[in-house]
Amino acid sequence: MPSAWLTLVISTGAAVVSLGSLVVSVLTYRASGPRVAISDYDIANRGGEWWLQIRVVNSGRSEVDVEAAWTNWLGATVSDLPHRMKGGSSKNLVFKGLLPPLQYGGNIITVQVGLGSGRNVLKQIRLNESQQGQLSASRIDHHDERSTDGRSATFPVEEV
């Protein structure tokens, strides 16, 4: 019956198209994978200690492990790692350190985030003028003996 054959051909064609669409969708989903970037940062001196906070964002749809994070003069992050990031999530990482080494003379901090996928995310953070000034000041290896722990000070009580 020609009509039965026609129905079978159309049905088979539809099934093939549907299957193809499904395959393409799965491949697209997998190809999108994790998309990890460092979206934001803040650097501050707290009581003589430098704190760098970065925001790592996974804007992809797949999960990914953040295995490690490191900067050129603050060293490894003090945040708990590894951390599994879901798709569409973010994670703040904190780095702390006392002073940049004397040989560090630039105005850029390089941050590297290692992922479980084997990829590394790199970002160079350029310090603004105020931050550079504070860094220069903190490199000076001198504290008046009257200054104590960097969060407090002691002065003599004197009459004039």
């Binding site: 000034g133 504070q134 200054s147 407090s152 000070a153």
Partner: protein, 227 residues
């Protein structure tokens, strides 16, 4: 109440940048000035010790509140922003005030503790570097024996190098930490005044010989070169 002979006093000058860039902060500044004064009044020992003066500066300097015992202040000034950031005039004005005020206090029989200047600026001075440096040097060395204790607080676009230069001793140069809002910075400027004066009052009362206090959260100490 008249001061009794031999009673103690500390001159405290608030030297506040009111250049045009401070305009968005002036309402807060004026409110916090009232809070600071009321905080002093809430402690009778503090109110008895502190003599408060307010000098604002931009293109010129203005004595908005002549040095007055805190418990005798009737009205606080309402500071108004405008003009550019110049330092020469305010340093010169402070030299004259310190000469005059300390001499007057001593003539009244007061024991005068080292005057404290709390200098707040959000920008870089636009007047002649040599002029303001010379005026600052005079303030530090010739305004009063041993010089006043100048706390220099930099917020906004203040240059850390200039902030350090204005401070009279290491431990008195402070920059607002990166990320703190301007309103947090202004709040911490007044907290610094409060911490210092309260600690000084305790030390004077107990005859400790030292004033010890903690920096407010958002202020970061800048060590001074070569002192």
């Amino acid at each position: 109440m008249a001061d009794s002979p031999g009673s103690a006093a500390v001159p405290v000058y608030l030297a506040v940048d009111v250049s045009a860039s401070m305009l968005p902060l002036m309402d807060l500044m004026n409110d916090l000035l009232i809070d600071a004064w009321q905080g002093i009044l809430s402690d009778p020992l503090l109110a008895d010790l502190v003599h408060l003066g307010v000098v604002s500066f931009s293109s010129a300097a203005s004595v908005d509140l002549p040095l007055t015992p805190a418990d005798r202040i009737v009205n606080l000034p309402r500071l108004v922003a405008g003009g550019a950031t110049h330092y020469t005039a305010v340093f010169q004005r402070l030299v004259a005030l310190l000469h005059q005020d300390v001499a007057a206090m001593k003539a009244d029989g007061l024991r005068v503790y080292r005057p404290a200047v709390f200098f707040l600026s959000d920008g870089r001075p636009l007047d002649d570097l040599h002029a303001w440096s010379a005026a600052l040097e005079e303030l530090k060395t010739r305004s009063v024996a041993g010089g006043p204790r100048i706390f220099s607080v930099g917020i906004g676009d203040a240059d850390p190098g200039v902030v350090q230069e204005v401070a009279s001793v290491s431990g008195a140069a402070l920059m607002v930490r990166t990320g703190a809002s301007p309103s947090e910075a202004i709040g911490d400027y007044f907290r610094l005044v409060d911490e210092y004066t309260r600690s000084l009052t305790r030390s004077v009362t107990r005859n400790d010989g030292e004033v010890v206090f903690r920096w407010p959260e958002n202020l970061v100490e800048l060590p001074i070169i070569g002192t």
